[in-house]
Symmetry: C2
DNA sequence: CGAAACTGTTCAACCCATACGCTTTTTCAC
DNA sequence: GTGAAAAAGCGTATGGGTTGAACAGTTTCG
């Protein structure tokens, strides 16, 4: 009856709602939901670094170590917070291409709303419920391409990697108020060294200020490349 | 004369060899090179977690806080260690397509040799010397496509995101000895929940064990998609 | 020589994690 | 039914790790 979650990766069982059966002893003062919700709250307010066991414990009126009755480690907590914060994917339009565009844009929006999600270290393949909802949504949209499951997985890997990369860059360049200032400062430091160090192409990139303009275009650009590439594959088979 | 590195991101100045000028006072007992080399040593031997200021300090016969005379923070240390460990890119063959393939494979090899590089959190766009060598190499290879610099940057973003994602997945699935066992265990846990939870596509993916076979094929697959997508763009312009 | 500047150490705070001990509640034997 | 044992909960104590402030020793410049 009691699931043997000994060997499972941190957060897997808990994210699916499998909690260790408790048979005797005092009632828990807290709940996982409460803890995770507090973690998200702190993340939204003060960023990823603010999600600490100590802070959550203090906020809930408990000592830090009481947390370890609910999660095995901070890593497990982060996995749970991440899955909850990711939430559910939107309804995708029909047609794999519009669906892919909608899916990518939804993720970009998500990362814009909760930038700290980009700071969550990636442990490996997604296994938690909400993450898998996103995967499932895109995978079913891709199923109409007629490609093999294997190929569809490859396409998914391509898309998800791209979104994350793009969102990470967009956060650095675009979001915060002093970002342009900082970017300019970096440029002033970097350009002379690029010139002297033998980085001709990068030098011209920086001098043309290619990195500054329209990030929205960049998103569509890379996405179009990927989708065209998939199209080529579909035509080929 | 003294560069104002106050506003620069951590590790930027140091990675380019700009150290604060020292005029009087005792000679430093250590050097940045020494510290970074020790960090890489620990990373290679025991993984990313083993790179700690305390350990490095102990190994070099100093107290932990003496480290802060050399680096501003652990983050800065990690940036330096990362750049050094990344090293120089290989010579790329001529032709942008072969060059891209070689570039991607070289990175995959790098990540296979130093898996802990995948645990280094990504702060944003690359700015350190060796990282930029890689960027420069690929960018010059792409320059023969006749695309705009802007487009070339988009292609690069595509490729680098893909490599990292792929390598991260490959590490999880393929490397360690007990990985298959763990994967199977995850599958046993997950499949019933996928069935009941309404994940039909993922269920079939797991049942067909699509995730197990040939990762090398996957690398080539996604890469081919990207390159085909770029090809389409070139033809279009 | 004296003062300025840089060195490294000590002290202190916060965070993650483990071990142990006390209390509470359930279970089961009598 | 009742009471003791078992197990779960929380707190205290302890230790490794990152970070910063305050302090004392050293070297070099003026």
């Amino acid at each position: 009856m009691t699931e043997d979650r000994g060997e499972l990766p941190p957060g897997l069982a808990l994210s699916w709602g499998v909690l260790p059966v408790q048979r005797r002893g005092p009632k828990p003062a807290l709940s996982i939901e409460q803890i995770v919700a507090t973690g998200i709250e702190f993340g939204d307010r003060d960023g990823f670094e603010a999600i600490s066991l100590q802070r959550i414990a203090a906020h809930l009126g408990v000592t830090t170590n009481a947390m370890y009755r609910y999660v095995r480690s901070k890593e497990e907590l982060i996995v749970l917070v991440n899955d909850k914060a990711v939430g559910l994917p939107p309804e995708l339009p029909s047609g794999w291409r519009p669906a892919a565009i909608a899916w990518v844009n939804a993720q970009v929006k998500l990362y814009a709303e909760r930038p700290w999600l980009l700071d969550v270290p990636i442990r490996g393949a997604p296994v938690t419920p909400n993450q898998l909802r996103w995967v499932e949504a895109m995978l079913t949209a891709l199923s109409e391409t007629g490609l093999s499951q294997h190929d569809n997985l490859g396409c998914l890997l391509l898309l998800s990697g791209y979104v994350r990369n793009y969102a990470s860059l967009a956060r650095q360049l675009g979001s915060s108020a002093d970002a342009p200032v900082q970017a300019e400062q970096v440029g002033r430091f970097l350009v002379p060294r690029l010139i002297e160090g033998g980085y001709p192409t990068l030098t011209s990139v920086y001098l043309n200020q290619e990195y500054e303009d329209g990030l929205d275009d960049d998103l569509d650009f890379g996405l179009a490349r990927i989708l065209d590439g998939i199209d080529v594959l579909i035509a080929k088979r």
